[in-house]
């Protein structure tokens, strides 16, 4: 059963990502991204990372997408609301990416990763909480400071761009 979900989400990710390549409308792209991210969240659940899945939905789908939407809104020019963006280097990009994918496949996927199985544990939130406050307390603090920096910098930068 779980494998069905796995393939389902996988397919969803696949389709949304591929469509993302070919779409020229930014607004569509944002929604496609949302779809993609949500399916990834689903994927996470399968791999025993339900907390991260929640985070994914909250921050990505909730936060980042809105940011992107803001970006689109703030920078659009055409009055009818459609934001069409072109692409280039398609052929070349495909070539490079294909090469990359093949290489990664050759190097990573085909290499022996050893027999593992996905653990299905409970009480993950507690575990994560503990680790945040012990093992990765510093990371926790650091990212807090990072957010502060980004906040200050971005707001100042935005302010300048508004006023100047």
């Amino acid at each position: 059963m779980i494998e069905v979900w796995m393939y389902f989400f996988g397919l969803l990710i696949l389709v949304s990502a591929l469509t993302l390549i070919f779409t020229e409308n930014l607004i569509y792209a944002a929604f496609l991204l949302a779809l993609c991210l949500l399916s990834i969240a689903g994927f996470y659940v399968i791999y025993n990372a339900s907390f991260l899945a929640v985070i994914q939905i909250l921050i990505y789908a909730g936060g980042i997408l809105i940011l992107i939407a803001f970006g689109i809104m703030l920078t659009k020019r055409s009055p009818e609301g459609k934001v069409i963006v072109g692409y280039h280097l398609l052929f070349f990009g495909f070539l490079v990416t294909l090469g990359m994918a093949l290489l990664i496949y050759a190097l990573v996927v085909s290499s022996t990763i050893g027999p593992r199985e996905i653990l299905q544990t409970t009480g993950q939130v507690r575990e994560i909480g503990i680790r945040f406050l012990t093992q990765y307390i510093l990371a926790f603090e650091l990212i807090a400071f990072l957010l502060l920096v980004v906040l200050v910098g971005a707001s100042y930068s935005g302010k300048k761009s508004q006023h100047a």
Binding site: I130, Q135, L138, A154
Partner: protein, 468 residues
Amino acid sequence: MKIIEQLIETQEHFGVISSEIILITGSIILLILGILRLPLFWIKVFAAVVLLGSFLFAQQIFGFFFTRTIIRDDLSYLMTQLLPLITLGVLCFKRQIHQSHEFYFLLMSVLTGSLFMVASHNLLILYLAIELTSYASYLLTGFRFNEKGSEAAMKYLLFGGVSSAVMLFGISLLYGANDSLYFDTLEFSLLGATGLFFFLSGLFFKTSIVPFHIWVPATYEGASTDVVAFFSTVPKIAGFAALYHVFQWTNGLFNPFLEQLILLLAILTIIWGTLAALRQTDIKRMLSFGAVAHSGFILPLCLAMDTYSIFKYYVIIYMVMNILAFLFVQLHEKKGENLSLSDMSGLGIKFPLLGVISVIWAVALVGLPPTGGFMAKLFLFSTAWQHYESIDSLYWLTFILVGILSSAASLYFYLRVPYFYFFKEDQSKKIKINKSHFLILTLLAFTLILLFIQPNIFDRFAPMITHE
């Protein structure tokens, strides 16, 4: 109970990273002071005090902390002393861009990130630290708020974002191969090696190694000179220190082939940087490519075994030279304009002392006596030769030869500054010389010479303790 004990232990560990703590706290206070509309001068003074504080309170305690995510060894101790000092130097630059307390805040956060980069022993912490430095750097690049600055910031951001994603991908592979994020647990496997190169591309991005150096010229050209001076030293050297840690602690991750590959990259970097610098007329671009070439020189030092003291020496010299060079360039800049070589024509006759300083930094960057640059190159080539002899690897020999040739070629472009300074016709350019700016220039030039005469002078400040 166990958790409580761990928490208490962790609490004690905060004392170890006192300089970082001081920096973080200081910068937050600075922000508040800024909001309170304290005059900019006092904010600057406060920033200087904070930097000095972090320099003075650097703890000389060695070992692993925070459940082994942080390593304090001689190198990180040295960096916690050195990087604030360099930042202090940058702080003394004559400002030509928009001034605000946010600028200093961001400067200090880049420093903070750099210090964490140096101290990290865990891929997660390292990644976070790199991102912290990067984000603050993107923002700093754009701080000129003109077209060039924004464009540079945009390019820097995109390139940085891509490379950080690549790096993360690498980290994920490394994690997959070893089930751990700690440096010393990483071991060699095909998966791991692949991941390693993805991962390294991020660090190479920070340290501007070919082929991840392409952001350098654009960013350096677009950003203001003081920021460039800062970028080319603090985060870059922190990146190298991190590389050093990675290479030193990842036991068995490397096999000779990987070493050769990285050496090859170093050689390419030297060649590319030197050649590209040859055709520049914008001094900042020229220096930026020169810095790229220098990255190629430093990289093998991170890689090779038992090169700590040489690495240390080279890095110190590199920072002093670069800061001096950029400081010198900035002295001549007019507001918002980039400097071209011809702008310096004939100034040497009017300002001979400045001319002497230009000779000193140019000669140091080339690597000629009597400057520390020469000693640095000498040490570097010595260790390269030793490696060549001990493993009879053609790569090391090639490295030496390329290094030598590049030094000769670099003469051509570095020397163009004193050349224009002295030999070109005077076009009666006027520059205003800021006394304190000039004082720092002299001090740095003197340091360069001092480092030649007594290269072990830094051992007095940072007693050498070889880590086991």
